[in-house]
Point group: none
Chain length 268, copies 2
Amino acid sequence: MHEKERHRIILSAVQDRPVVTVQELVALTDSSEATIRRDIAQLHVQKKLRRVRGGAESIHPPQFVGLAGRPFSVNETINIAQKRAIAQKAVELCEDGDAIIINGGTTTFQMVHPLATKRCQVFTNSFPIAEHLLKNSKNTIMLSGGVIYREQNIILSPFDNDVTRNFYAKRMFMGAQGLGPLGLMEADPLLIQAEQKLIGQADELVVLADSSKFSARSSLILCPLERISTVITDDGIPDSAANMLEQADIHLIVAETSAAQTKATSNG
Amino acid sequence: MHEKERHRIILSAVQDRPVVTVQELVALTDSSEATIRRDIAQLHVQKKLRRVRGGAESIHPPQFVGLAGRPFSVNETINIAQKRAIAQKAVELCEDGDAIIINGGTTTFQMVHPLATKRCQVFTNSFPIAEHLLKNSKNTIMLSGGVIYREQNIILSPFDNDVTRNFYAKRMFMGAQGLGPLGLMEADPLLIQAEQKLIGQADELVVLADSSKFSARSSLILCPLERISTVITDDGIPDSAANMLEQADIHLIVAETSAAQTKATSNG
DNA sequence: TCAAAAACGATCAATATCAATCATATTGCG
DNA sequence: CGCAATATGATTGATATTGATCGTTTTTGA
């Protein structure tokens, strides 16, 4: 077996599993320990893997380093204040007993905190949302079935899901990649398919989009503006976008993120 | 077993329960106390867990202990050694790439630890099993859709679930309330309905039942003995039960528990 | 309080892994 | 064909890890 061939096998083995032993690679490549060690040493200086006693491990974090459970550690902290304020407004629309659909996403995930005190029937395709609500609230949780995609933490099914078809909700909450005159934009075709199914199961569609989403564009249109009942955004929304929504007869809710909450909030 | 591998298992075990004993980890990793102590000490200085007398505890706050969400805090520790040994044997039947169904339960939950090093396609109706495997393994996880029942931590759907119908597995693993001449017994009619659906989706039915289950009885029969391919139990199984299974042409696997390996009892 | 049991830490032998060296095989070239 | 260069495999001494033992400390229970 050629050197390159072994390297290919070693790298693929290391990427599969968090750690591969020299012995396993010996068996896998049918070569000697000495050769495998030499290979590992080479790949180590090439930074293709990390050499450890007994074998080699992937150079990438073995997935639970920080103890997985942080749903979307990367995106979650972007515009977190706006997302939280928006999510708060979204939950304020919900009353105990309501049946709602929450589509997975970093903004909608922020709804879990204010939702903790509610008792709604929540249908979601997001594993982290279901997990959090299950552990920290008394809401009834319904989950869509299918494969759990780790990257998005979303559950997708290639098949029609009767659970989805039989659940009908007052409102569906969802985020988006972008929001423009053409409608709601999304990047991933797979997500679009799943989300379109869900949209059909709710009376009102409530879109949670921080103000940066009005300038963001994506190539795929999820649904036209007419389908949207309500948009919740933050006070950074440009006038043009507000006008656009007004003309489309969309109810606009602006969540105030600054300390200046002097506006039309009537509290008791 | 290698250092990294053990660390993986230890961290994954610590995540399950607020505290894990050295003995449990010895059983789980099949290594010595000294090694486990050294590992715990290492992970402690790495701040991956906290070292305490008797074992290790999660570094994260207990959070929701009283609330629903902790998988099976009550049942989980009953016959834990037997359940673990049984689960270990069950996982030994699985090879990378296998499609398997794991029905929710306290015994089947113990499969998550040995499964951490596998790469199977796992279909389950158990939220905790899905959660753990999602966070601590590279298995592909498929979840059935429906309402999450907090009491059992099981996902049930009143409707037919196409995800379920379209997933066909080599083996299905399940626990039971009881196992007698009439077949597999279960207590809850709702569970029976869901489990019967799943049973139809697998070639072989593997039942995980610690030896106490042979004396336990329940009012409802889930399926007859003929449907069962394999039973995995511990070495406390009475001869009468072993004979019953043998006559039903069921493959019997006996997992030896460390406690029962001492044959002579000095005092009665 | 004391005694028994469990858990711990240190030490040492057994084992596994490693690095270095040498031997062998294959290839390329004169 | 002979020879050198390279790659691979085998051997050996060095090093690291593991498991067992033993004495000490902590916990448990009377």
